[in-house]
Protein backbone atom coordinates (compact mmCIF):
# COMPACT_ATOMS: atom_id res chain seq x y z
CA UNK A 1 0.00 0.00 0.00
CA UNK A 2 3.01 2.29 0.05
CA UNK A 3 2.72 5.09 -2.44
CA UNK A 4 5.35 5.84 -4.99
CA UNK A 5 4.94 9.60 -4.88
CA UNK A 6 5.70 9.64 -1.19
CA UNK A 7 9.28 8.40 -1.17
CA UNK A 8 10.94 10.09 1.79
CA UNK A 9 13.42 12.88 1.28
CA UNK A 10 16.99 12.01 2.19
CA UNK A 11 17.57 12.75 5.85
CA UNK A 12 13.88 12.28 6.75
CA UNK A 13 13.64 11.72 10.49
CA UNK A 14 10.36 10.02 11.41
CA UNK A 15 8.47 11.20 14.45
CA UNK A 16 7.39 8.28 16.56
CA UNK A 17 4.95 8.37 19.45
CA UNK A 18 5.47 5.60 21.97
CA UNK A 19 3.01 4.54 24.64
CA UNK A 20 4.84 2.60 27.30
CA UNK A 21 3.49 0.59 30.20
CA UNK A 22 4.91 1.51 33.61
CA UNK A 23 5.86 -2.09 34.47
CA UNK A 24 7.86 -4.50 32.27
CA UNK A 25 8.08 -2.22 29.25
CA UNK A 26 9.30 0.81 31.11
CA UNK A 27 11.81 -1.32 32.98
CA UNK A 28 13.17 -2.10 29.51
CA UNK A 29 13.47 1.62 28.78
CA UNK A 30 15.29 2.17 32.09
CA UNK A 31 17.57 -0.81 31.53
CA UNK A 32 18.54 0.45 28.08
CA UNK A 33 19.45 3.74 29.78
CA UNK A 34 21.38 2.10 32.61
CA UNK A 35 23.30 -0.12 30.22
CA UNK A 36 23.96 2.75 27.84
CA UNK A 37 22.39 0.85 24.94
CA UNK A 38 22.18 3.11 21.91
CA UNK A 39 19.04 3.26 19.82
CA UNK A 40 17.24 5.63 17.49
CA UNK A 41 16.18 8.78 19.31
CA UNK A 42 13.05 9.45 17.25
CA UNK A 43 10.55 8.29 19.80
CA UNK A 44 8.69 10.49 22.29
CA UNK A 45 7.39 8.39 25.15
CA UNK A 46 4.09 8.73 26.98
CA UNK A 47 4.15 6.56 30.10
CA UNK A 48 0.88 5.01 31.23
CA UNK A 49 0.15 2.73 34.18
CA UNK A 50 -1.09 0.01 31.85
CA UNK A 51 -1.19 -0.18 28.08
CA UNK A 52 -4.81 -1.32 28.45
CA UNK A 53 -5.55 2.31 29.27
CA UNK A 54 -4.62 3.39 25.74
CA UNK A 55 -7.75 3.39 23.61
CA UNK A 56 -8.10 3.75 19.86
CA UNK A 57 -8.86 7.45 20.15
CA UNK A 58 -5.38 8.14 21.52
CA UNK A 59 -3.72 6.22 18.69
CA UNK A 60 -5.60 8.25 16.09
CA UNK A 61 -4.84 11.41 18.04
CA UNK A 62 -1.12 10.64 17.81
CA UNK A 63 -1.38 10.36 14.01
CA UNK A 64 -3.52 13.50 13.87
CA UNK A 65 -0.84 15.37 15.82
CA UNK A 66 1.80 14.36 13.31
CA UNK A 67 3.24 11.00 14.37
CA UNK A 68 4.66 9.07 11.41
CA UNK A 69 4.43 5.89 13.44
CA UNK A 70 3.09 4.80 16.81
CA UNK A 71 4.63 2.14 19.04
CA UNK A 72 2.79 0.36 21.80
CA UNK A 73 5.30 -0.97 24.30
CA UNK A 74 3.64 -3.32 26.73
CA UNK A 75 4.33 -6.28 28.96
CA UNK A 76 4.25 -9.93 27.95
CA UNK A 77 0.55 -10.72 27.95
CA UNK A 78 0.76 -13.24 30.81
CA UNK A 79 2.60 -10.84 33.12
CA UNK A 80 0.17 -7.90 32.90
CA UNK A 81 -0.08 -6.33 36.37
CA UNK A 82 -3.81 -5.94 35.89
CA UNK A 83 -4.34 -9.35 34.27
CA UNK A 84 -6.40 -8.23 31.25
CA UNK A 85 -4.56 -5.07 30.13
CA UNK A 86 -2.61 -6.57 27.26
CA UNK A 87 -5.60 -8.53 26.00
CA UNK A 88 -7.47 -5.25 25.75
CA UNK A 89 -4.45 -3.72 24.00
CA UNK A 90 -4.42 -6.47 21.40
CA UNK A 91 -8.06 -5.72 20.57
CA UNK A 92 -7.39 -2.00 20.33
CA UNK A 93 -4.30 -2.65 18.21
CA UNK A 94 -6.16 -4.89 15.74
CA UNK A 95 -9.00 -2.40 15.43
CA UNK A 96 -6.67 0.58 14.95
CA UNK A 97 -4.71 -1.25 12.24
CA UNK A 98 -7.96 -1.88 10.35
CA UNK A 99 -8.75 1.84 10.56
CA UNK A 100 -5.26 2.72 9.28
CA UNK A 101 -5.82 0.42 6.30
CA UNK A 102 -9.05 2.29 5.46
CA UNK A 103 -7.21 5.57 5.80
CA UNK A 104 -4.85 4.27 3.13
CA UNK A 105 -1.66 4.00 5.17
CA UNK A 106 0.50 1.02 5.97
CA UNK A 107 -0.95 -0.67 9.08
CA UNK A 108 2.63 -1.43 10.13
CA UNK A 109 2.93 2.23 11.10
CA UNK A 110 1.35 1.01 14.30
CA UNK A 111 3.41 -1.57 16.18
CA UNK A 112 2.77 -3.59 19.31
CA UNK A 113 5.76 -4.97 21.17
CA UNK A 114 5.74 -7.03 24.35
CA UNK A 115 8.88 -6.11 26.26
CA UNK A 116 10.16 -8.61 28.85
CA UNK A 117 11.11 -7.33 32.30
CA UNK A 118 14.40 -5.49 32.05
CA UNK A 119 14.67 -6.17 28.32
CA UNK A 120 16.79 -3.12 27.49
CA UNK A 121 18.67 -4.53 24.51
CA UNK A 122 15.45 -6.08 23.14
CA UNK A 123 13.64 -2.76 23.41
CA UNK A 124 16.49 -0.90 21.71
CA UNK A 125 16.47 -3.33 18.77
CA UNK A 126 12.70 -3.10 18.38
CA UNK A 127 12.65 0.69 18.46
CA UNK A 128 15.53 1.03 16.01
CA UNK A 129 13.91 -1.48 13.65
CA UNK A 130 10.60 0.37 13.79
CA UNK A 131 12.25 3.75 13.18
CA UNK A 132 14.03 2.27 10.14
CA UNK A 133 10.74 0.91 8.81
CA UNK A 134 8.88 4.21 9.23
CA UNK A 135 11.87 6.05 7.81
CA UNK A 136 11.52 4.00 4.62
CA UNK A 137 7.71 4.38 4.57
CA UNK A 138 8.07 8.16 4.69
CA UNK A 139 6.04 10.92 6.31
CA UNK A 140 2.54 9.96 7.35
CA UNK A 141 -0.17 11.49 5.16
CA UNK A 142 -2.57 11.64 8.10
CA UNK A 143 -1.43 14.92 9.65
CA UNK A 144 -3.90 17.61 8.60
CA UNK A 145 -1.81 20.65 9.53
CA UNK A 146 1.86 21.53 9.35
CA UNK A 147 3.57 19.39 11.96
CA UNK A 148 3.44 20.89 15.42
CA UNK A 149 6.75 21.45 17.16
CA UNK A 150 5.31 20.66 20.54
CA UNK A 151 2.96 17.78 19.88
CA UNK A 152 3.93 15.83 23.01
CA UNK A 153 2.16 18.15 25.50
CA UNK A 154 -0.96 17.96 23.33
CA UNK A 155 -0.71 14.17 23.35
CA UNK A 156 -0.29 14.10 27.12
CA UNK A 157 -3.30 16.40 27.49
CA UNK A 158 -5.34 13.99 25.35
CA UNK A 159 -4.27 11.09 27.56
CA UNK A 160 -5.41 12.87 30.70
CA UNK A 161 -8.63 14.26 29.24
CA UNK A 162 -10.20 11.42 27.29
CA UNK A 163 -11.66 8.17 28.41
CA UNK A 164 -12.15 5.19 26.20
Amino acid sequence: MSRGNRSPKPGFQPRIAGFVCNWSAYSGVEMAGVQGTEYAANMRLVKVMCLGRVHGGLLLKAFELGADGVMLLGCPVESCHYEFGMERTREVFTQARRVLRLLGVEPQRLALVEVPLGGGAFLARQVSGFVRYVGRAGPSPLCPTPRRKRALPAMEAAVSQTRG
Binding site: E64, Q95, R98, V99, P141, C143, G164
Partner: protein, 381 residues
Protein backbone atom coordinates in the same frame (compact mmCIF):
# COMPACT_ATOMS: atom_id res chain seq x y z
CA UNK B 1 -20.81 40.08 21.70
CA UNK B 2 -22.17 41.68 18.54
CA UNK B 3 -22.05 38.25 16.92
CA UNK B 4 -24.41 36.86 19.52
CA UNK B 5 -26.89 39.68 18.93
CA UNK B 6 -26.81 38.76 15.28
CA UNK B 7 -27.28 35.06 16.05
CA UNK B 8 -30.27 35.88 18.24
CA UNK B 9 -31.79 38.01 15.50
CA UNK B 10 -31.22 35.43 12.78
CA UNK B 11 -32.63 32.51 14.74
CA UNK B 12 -35.73 34.37 15.85
CA UNK B 13 -34.81 33.99 19.52
CA UNK B 14 -36.15 37.51 20.25
CA UNK B 15 -39.63 36.11 19.59
CA UNK B 16 -39.36 33.71 22.53
CA UNK B 17 -42.40 34.06 24.81
CA UNK B 18 -40.72 32.22 27.67
CA UNK B 19 -43.60 29.71 27.68
CA UNK B 20 -41.35 26.73 28.38
CA UNK B 21 -43.01 24.31 25.96
CA UNK B 22 -39.54 23.58 24.57
CA UNK B 23 -38.34 22.41 27.98
CA UNK B 24 -41.53 20.43 28.53
CA UNK B 25 -40.92 18.42 25.38
CA UNK B 26 -37.09 18.25 25.48
CA UNK B 27 -35.86 14.65 25.92
CA UNK B 28 -32.75 15.85 27.77
CA UNK B 29 -34.72 18.04 30.21
CA UNK B 30 -36.91 15.07 31.05
CA UNK B 31 -33.97 13.28 32.66
CA UNK B 32 -31.54 16.11 33.39
CA UNK B 33 -33.23 18.83 35.44
CA UNK B 34 -30.24 21.13 34.93
CA UNK B 35 -30.90 21.38 31.20
CA UNK B 36 -33.53 23.73 29.89
CA UNK B 37 -33.84 25.06 26.34
CA UNK B 38 -36.01 27.88 27.69
CA UNK B 39 -33.20 28.96 30.03
CA UNK B 40 -30.61 28.76 27.26
CA UNK B 41 -32.69 31.20 25.21
CA UNK B 42 -33.38 33.32 28.29
CA UNK B 43 -29.66 33.54 29.14
CA UNK B 44 -28.79 34.39 25.56
CA UNK B 45 -31.35 37.20 25.55
CA UNK B 46 -30.65 38.55 29.00
CA UNK B 47 -26.95 39.06 28.53
CA UNK B 48 -25.69 36.15 30.69
CA UNK B 49 -23.67 35.12 27.72
CA UNK B 50 -20.26 34.34 29.06
CA UNK B 51 -21.73 31.67 31.33
CA UNK B 52 -23.73 30.37 28.40
CA UNK B 53 -20.70 29.98 26.14
CA UNK B 54 -18.50 28.61 28.92
CA UNK B 55 -21.06 26.28 30.45
CA UNK B 56 -21.65 22.62 29.69
CA UNK B 57 -25.35 23.04 28.79
CA UNK B 58 -24.56 24.17 25.29
CA UNK B 59 -23.15 20.76 24.43
CA UNK B 60 -25.94 18.64 25.91
CA UNK B 61 -28.59 19.62 23.35
CA UNK B 62 -29.40 16.76 20.97
CA UNK B 63 -30.32 19.26 18.25
CA UNK B 64 -33.22 16.88 17.61
CA UNK B 65 -35.60 19.81 16.91
CA UNK B 66 -38.47 18.36 18.92
CA UNK B 67 -38.68 21.75 20.67
CA UNK B 68 -38.99 23.52 17.32
CA UNK B 69 -42.07 21.43 16.53
CA UNK B 70 -43.77 22.83 19.63
CA UNK B 71 -42.48 26.40 19.62
CA UNK B 72 -45.27 28.88 18.91
CA UNK B 73 -42.81 31.63 18.07
CA UNK B 74 -40.85 29.64 15.50
CA UNK B 75 -37.56 30.10 17.34
CA UNK B 76 -34.93 28.14 15.42
CA UNK B 77 -33.41 26.61 18.51
CA UNK B 78 -31.08 24.14 16.75
CA UNK B 79 -29.62 26.90 14.61
CA UNK B 80 -29.18 28.97 17.77
CA UNK B 81 -27.29 26.12 19.47
CA UNK B 82 -25.16 25.51 16.38
CA UNK B 83 -24.20 29.17 16.09
CA UNK B 84 -23.53 29.54 19.82
CA UNK B 85 -21.33 26.43 19.72
CA UNK B 86 -19.31 28.02 16.92
CA UNK B 87 -18.78 31.07 19.17
CA UNK B 88 -17.84 28.85 22.12
CA UNK B 89 -15.45 26.86 19.91
CA UNK B 90 -13.56 30.07 19.16
CA UNK B 91 -13.11 30.48 22.93
CA UNK B 92 -11.60 26.98 23.08
CA UNK B 93 -14.69 25.33 24.53
CA UNK B 94 -15.97 21.96 23.43
CA UNK B 95 -18.24 19.17 24.56
CA UNK B 96 -17.01 16.00 26.14
CA UNK B 97 -15.83 13.73 23.34
CA UNK B 98 -17.16 10.21 23.43
CA UNK B 99 -15.24 7.12 22.31
CA UNK B 100 -11.95 8.64 23.44
CA UNK B 101 -12.12 11.29 20.76
CA UNK B 102 -11.57 8.68 18.02
CA UNK B 103 -14.26 10.11 15.76
CA UNK B 104 -13.04 13.68 16.25
CA UNK B 105 -9.51 12.62 15.32
CA UNK B 106 -10.81 10.74 12.28
CA UNK B 107 -12.66 13.84 11.11
CA UNK B 108 -9.57 16.01 11.59
CA UNK B 109 -7.36 13.46 9.79
CA UNK B 110 -9.82 13.51 6.89
CA UNK B 111 -9.10 17.18 6.32
CA UNK B 112 -5.49 16.32 5.36
CA UNK B 113 -4.70 17.15 1.72
CA UNK B 114 -2.27 14.22 1.55
CA UNK B 115 -4.89 11.64 2.57
CA UNK B 116 -5.53 8.83 0.04
CA UNK B 117 -8.06 6.46 1.57
CA UNK B 118 -8.68 2.89 0.60
CA UNK B 119 -12.28 2.67 1.75
CA UNK B 120 -14.22 0.66 -0.81
CA UNK B 121 -13.20 -2.82 0.34
CA UNK B 122 -16.76 -3.46 1.55
CA UNK B 123 -18.16 -3.63 -1.97
CA UNK B 124 -19.20 -7.22 -2.42
CA UNK B 125 -19.29 -9.28 -5.58
CA UNK B 126 -22.15 -8.51 -7.91
CA UNK B 127 -22.46 -4.84 -6.93
CA UNK B 128 -21.82 -2.64 -9.95
CA UNK B 129 -20.10 0.72 -9.52
CA UNK B 130 -18.01 2.98 -11.75
CA UNK B 131 -15.55 5.84 -11.37
CA UNK B 132 -17.61 8.45 -13.22
CA UNK B 133 -21.35 8.49 -13.51
CA UNK B 134 -24.37 10.76 -13.57
CA UNK B 135 -25.26 9.44 -10.13
CA UNK B 136 -22.89 9.32 -7.21
CA UNK B 137 -23.55 7.35 -4.07
CA UNK B 138 -22.10 9.25 -1.09
CA UNK B 139 -21.50 6.45 1.37
CA UNK B 140 -20.69 8.33 4.58
CA UNK B 141 -18.50 7.05 7.38
CA UNK B 142 -20.03 3.56 7.59
CA UNK B 143 -16.75 1.73 6.71
CA UNK B 144 -15.23 3.29 9.83
CA UNK B 145 -18.29 2.75 12.01
CA UNK B 146 -18.35 -0.98 11.34
CA UNK B 147 -14.77 -1.27 12.60
CA UNK B 148 -15.04 1.10 15.55
CA UNK B 149 -18.34 -0.33 16.77
CA UNK B 150 -17.88 -3.98 15.86
CA UNK B 151 -18.28 -4.90 19.53
CA UNK B 152 -21.86 -3.61 19.40
CA UNK B 153 -22.74 -5.80 16.43
CA UNK B 154 -23.13 -2.74 14.23
CA UNK B 155 -23.52 -3.47 10.52
CA UNK B 156 -24.08 -0.08 8.95
CA UNK B 157 -22.39 -1.18 5.72
CA UNK B 158 -25.31 -3.53 5.06
CA UNK B 159 -27.22 -0.36 4.23
CA UNK B 160 -24.47 0.75 1.85
CA UNK B 161 -24.39 -2.63 0.09
CA UNK B 162 -28.18 -2.55 0.02
CA UNK B 163 -28.13 0.93 -1.48
CA UNK B 164 -25.86 -0.11 -4.36
CA UNK B 165 -27.95 -3.25 -4.96
CA UNK B 166 -31.16 -1.20 -5.02
CA UNK B 167 -29.65 1.37 -7.38
CA UNK B 168 -28.36 -1.40 -9.65
CA UNK B 169 -31.85 -2.88 -9.74
CA UNK B 170 -33.06 0.44 -11.13
CA UNK B 171 -30.30 0.20 -13.76
CA UNK B 172 -28.31 2.91 -12.07
CA UNK B 173 -24.60 2.18 -11.80
CA UNK B 174 -23.39 4.75 -9.31
CA UNK B 175 -19.96 6.27 -8.93
CA UNK B 176 -18.30 5.80 -5.56
CA UNK B 177 -15.36 7.81 -4.29
CA UNK B 178 -12.41 5.90 -2.84
CA UNK B 179 -11.25 9.08 -1.14
CA UNK B 180 -14.61 10.39 0.05
CA UNK B 181 -14.25 12.40 3.24
CA UNK B 182 -16.58 12.67 6.18
CA UNK B 183 -19.35 15.12 5.29
CA UNK B 184 -18.41 17.15 8.37
CA UNK B 185 -21.83 17.16 10.01
CA UNK B 186 -20.47 16.48 13.47
CA UNK B 187 -17.72 19.08 13.23
CA UNK B 188 -20.21 21.73 12.17
CA UNK B 189 -22.59 20.83 15.00
CA UNK B 190 -19.67 20.90 17.43
CA UNK B 191 -18.89 24.45 16.37
CA UNK B 192 -15.73 23.62 14.41
CA UNK B 193 -16.59 25.54 11.25
CA UNK B 194 -12.99 25.76 10.02
CA UNK B 195 -12.47 22.00 9.75
CA UNK B 196 -16.01 21.52 8.43
CA UNK B 197 -15.34 23.86 5.54
CA UNK B 198 -12.14 22.00 4.68
CA UNK B 199 -14.02 18.70 4.49
CA UNK B 200 -16.77 20.29 2.41
CA UNK B 201 -14.25 21.73 -0.06
CA UNK B 202 -12.50 18.36 -0.42
CA UNK B 203 -15.79 16.56 -1.03
CA UNK B 204 -17.14 19.06 -3.54
CA UNK B 205 -13.87 18.86 -5.48
CA UNK B 206 -13.93 15.05 -5.50
CA UNK B 207 -17.61 14.92 -6.46
CA UNK B 208 -16.92 17.23 -9.41
CA UNK B 209 -14.30 14.75 -10.68
CA UNK B 210 -16.96 12.02 -10.90
CA UNK B 211 -19.07 14.29 -13.17
CA UNK B 212 -22.12 13.46 -11.07
CA UNK B 213 -25.25 15.55 -11.53
CA UNK B 214 -27.03 13.78 -8.71
CA UNK B 215 -25.63 12.73 -5.33
CA UNK B 216 -27.55 10.01 -3.50
CA UNK B 217 -27.06 9.46 0.21
CA UNK B 218 -28.39 6.96 2.70
CA UNK B 219 -27.10 8.66 5.84
CA UNK B 220 -29.56 11.44 6.79
CA UNK B 221 -26.75 13.53 8.27
CA UNK B 222 -24.82 13.43 4.98
CA UNK B 223 -28.07 14.29 3.17
CA UNK B 224 -28.84 17.34 5.28
CA UNK B 225 -25.23 18.52 5.33
CA UNK B 226 -24.61 18.21 1.61
CA UNK B 227 -27.98 19.60 0.66
CA UNK B 228 -28.45 22.43 3.15
CA UNK B 229 -25.05 23.29 4.62
CA UNK B 230 -22.59 22.88 1.73
CA UNK B 231 -24.26 25.62 -0.35
CA UNK B 232 -24.14 27.94 2.67
CA UNK B 233 -20.43 27.43 3.23
CA UNK B 234 -18.85 26.57 -0.12
CA UNK B 235 -21.27 28.07 -2.62
CA UNK B 236 -23.75 26.74 -5.13
CA UNK B 237 -23.37 23.06 -5.95
CA UNK B 238 -23.13 21.61 -9.45
CA UNK B 239 -25.25 18.60 -8.41
CA UNK B 240 -28.54 17.89 -6.72
CA UNK B 241 -28.66 15.95 -3.47
CA UNK B 242 -31.31 13.28 -2.95
CA UNK B 243 -31.94 10.78 -0.22
CA UNK B 244 -32.17 7.22 -1.48
CA UNK B 245 -35.64 6.88 0.08
CA UNK B 246 -36.92 9.65 -2.22
CA UNK B 247 -35.52 7.94 -5.27
CA UNK B 248 -36.86 4.52 -4.26
CA UNK B 249 -40.29 5.82 -3.25
CA UNK B 250 -40.61 7.25 -6.77
CA UNK B 251 -39.58 3.93 -8.30
CA UNK B 252 -42.06 2.04 -6.12
CA UNK B 253 -44.85 4.38 -7.17
CA UNK B 254 -44.01 3.84 -10.87
CA UNK B 255 -43.90 0.10 -10.41
CA UNK B 256 -40.22 0.00 -11.37
CA UNK B 257 -39.21 -1.59 -8.10
CA UNK B 258 -40.78 -4.83 -6.92
CA UNK B 259 -40.15 -6.74 -3.73
CA UNK B 260 -40.65 -10.34 -2.77
CA UNK B 261 -42.68 -11.42 0.23
CA UNK B 262 -41.08 -10.80 3.61
CA UNK B 263 -43.25 -11.74 6.51
CA UNK B 264 -42.05 -9.57 9.38
CA UNK B 265 -43.57 -7.08 11.76
CA UNK B 266 -41.47 -3.92 11.82
CA UNK B 267 -41.52 -0.46 13.31
CA UNK B 268 -39.74 2.56 11.89
CA UNK B 269 -37.70 5.09 13.86
CA UNK B 270 -37.60 8.52 12.18
CA UNK B 271 -34.05 9.92 12.35
CA UNK B 272 -34.06 13.62 13.34
CA UNK B 273 -32.05 14.69 10.31
CA UNK B 274 -34.34 12.90 7.88
CA UNK B 275 -37.65 13.62 9.59
CA UNK B 276 -37.88 16.93 11.38
CA UNK B 277 -34.85 18.47 9.67
CA UNK B 278 -35.67 17.39 6.10
CA UNK B 279 -39.38 16.58 6.19
CA UNK B 280 -38.84 13.08 4.78
CA UNK B 281 -41.41 10.95 6.61
CA UNK B 282 -43.48 9.28 3.89
CA UNK B 283 -40.78 8.00 1.55
CA UNK B 284 -39.19 5.37 3.83
CA UNK B 285 -42.68 4.22 4.78
CA UNK B 286 -43.71 3.98 1.12
CA UNK B 287 -40.81 1.60 0.49
CA UNK B 288 -41.75 -0.55 3.47
CA UNK B 289 -45.40 -0.62 2.48
CA UNK B 290 -44.41 -1.91 -0.96
CA UNK B 291 -42.90 -5.04 0.56
CA UNK B 292 -45.60 -7.75 0.56
CA UNK B 293 -46.11 -9.42 3.93
CA UNK B 294 -44.30 -6.69 5.82
CA UNK B 295 -46.40 -5.17 8.56
CA UNK B 296 -45.42 -1.66 9.63
CA UNK B 297 -46.54 -0.71 13.13
CA UNK B 298 -45.96 2.83 14.33
CA UNK B 299 -44.50 3.61 17.72
CA UNK B 300 -46.43 5.80 20.19
CA UNK B 301 -44.35 8.75 19.00
CA UNK B 302 -43.52 8.78 15.32
CA UNK B 303 -42.96 11.16 12.43
CA UNK B 304 -42.59 14.76 13.68
CA UNK B 305 -43.09 13.62 17.27
CA UNK B 306 -40.46 10.87 17.10
CA UNK B 307 -38.04 10.62 19.99
CA UNK B 308 -34.35 11.10 19.18
CA UNK B 309 -31.88 8.19 19.36
CA UNK B 310 -30.31 10.06 22.25
CA UNK B 311 -26.84 11.26 21.24
CA UNK B 312 -25.38 13.82 18.85
CA UNK B 313 -22.09 14.74 17.26
CA UNK B 314 -20.12 12.16 19.29
CA UNK B 315 -20.42 14.33 22.37
CA UNK B 316 -21.75 14.33 25.91
CA UNK B 317 -23.11 10.80 26.06
CA UNK B 318 -23.98 9.68 29.56
CA UNK B 319 -26.70 8.42 31.85
CA UNK B 320 -29.24 10.94 30.55
CA UNK B 321 -28.72 9.80 26.98
CA UNK B 322 -28.94 6.15 27.95
CA UNK B 323 -32.34 6.81 29.55
CA UNK B 324 -33.62 8.44 26.37
CA UNK B 325 -32.44 5.45 24.36
CA UNK B 326 -34.07 3.05 26.80
CA UNK B 327 -37.31 5.00 26.47
CA UNK B 328 -37.19 4.70 22.70
CA UNK B 329 -36.36 1.00 22.80
CA UNK B 330 -39.26 0.36 25.18
CA UNK B 331 -41.56 2.21 22.79
CA UNK B 332 -40.35 0.01 19.95
CA UNK B 333 -40.81 -3.13 22.03
CA UNK B 334 -44.36 -2.08 22.86
CA UNK B 335 -45.28 -2.35 19.17
CA UNK B 336 -44.42 -6.07 19.32
CA UNK B 337 -42.33 -5.59 16.18
CA UNK B 338 -39.57 -8.08 15.36
CA UNK B 339 -37.35 -5.43 13.85
CA UNK B 340 -36.75 -1.80 14.72
CA UNK B 341 -35.85 -0.12 11.44
CA UNK B 342 -34.06 3.15 11.07
CA UNK B 343 -32.53 4.97 8.13
CA UNK B 344 -29.55 6.43 9.97
CA UNK B 345 -26.29 4.67 10.87
CA UNK B 346 -25.93 6.78 14.01
CA UNK B 347 -29.37 5.80 15.28
CA UNK B 348 -28.39 2.18 14.71
CA UNK B 349 -25.16 2.60 16.66
CA UNK B 350 -26.76 4.45 19.56
CA UNK B 351 -29.77 2.17 19.90
CA UNK B 352 -27.67 -1.00 19.58
CA UNK B 353 -25.35 0.35 22.25
CA UNK B 354 -28.29 0.86 24.60
CA UNK B 355 -29.65 -2.57 23.74
CA UNK B 356 -26.33 -4.07 24.86
CA UNK B 357 -26.65 -2.41 28.22
CA UNK B 358 -26.83 -5.01 30.98
CA UNK B 359 -29.84 -3.35 32.55
CA UNK B 360 -31.85 -3.57 29.32
CA UNK B 361 -30.62 -6.60 27.42
CA UNK B 362 -32.67 -8.97 29.54
CA UNK B 363 -35.79 -6.89 29.13
CA UNK B 364 -35.78 -6.00 25.44
CA UNK B 365 -35.58 -8.37 22.52
CA UNK B 366 -35.38 -6.55 19.23
CA UNK B 367 -33.40 -6.65 16.07
CA UNK B 368 -32.22 -3.29 14.76
CA UNK B 369 -31.68 -2.91 11.04
CA UNK B 370 -31.40 -0.23 8.39
CA UNK B 371 -34.33 0.34 6.03
CA UNK B 372 -32.13 -0.07 2.95
CA UNK B 373 -30.54 -3.24 4.20
CA UNK B 374 -34.02 -4.71 4.70
CA UNK B 375 -35.29 -3.43 1.36
CA UNK B 376 -32.32 -5.00 -0.43
CA UNK B 377 -33.00 -8.31 1.34
CA UNK B 378 -36.56 -8.13 0.03
CA UNK B 379 -35.59 -7.46 -3.59
CA UNK B 380 -37.44 -9.80 -5.94
CA UNK B 381 -35.02 -12.22 -7.57
Amino acid sequence: MAEIDQIIAETGAYSCLDCGKCTAVCPISRYDPDYSPRLVVHNALSGRRDGLLRGSQLWSCLTCALCEERCHSAVRYCELIKALRAEAHVLGETGECTHGGALQSLMHIMTADSLRQDRLGWLSKGLRTVATSDTLYFVGCQPYFDILFSDLGVHTLDAARGAVALLNRLDIVPALMPNERCCGHDLLWAGDVEHFVRLAEHNVKEIRKTKARRVVTTCPECYLTLKAEYPRYVGELSFEVVHLSQLLAGAVANGELKFRRLKRRVTYHDPCRLGRASGIYDEPRAILEAIPGLELVEMARSRAAALCCGTQAWMNCGATNKQIQAERLREATATAADILLTACPKCQIHLKCALKDDSLSGELHLEIEDVFSLAARALAR
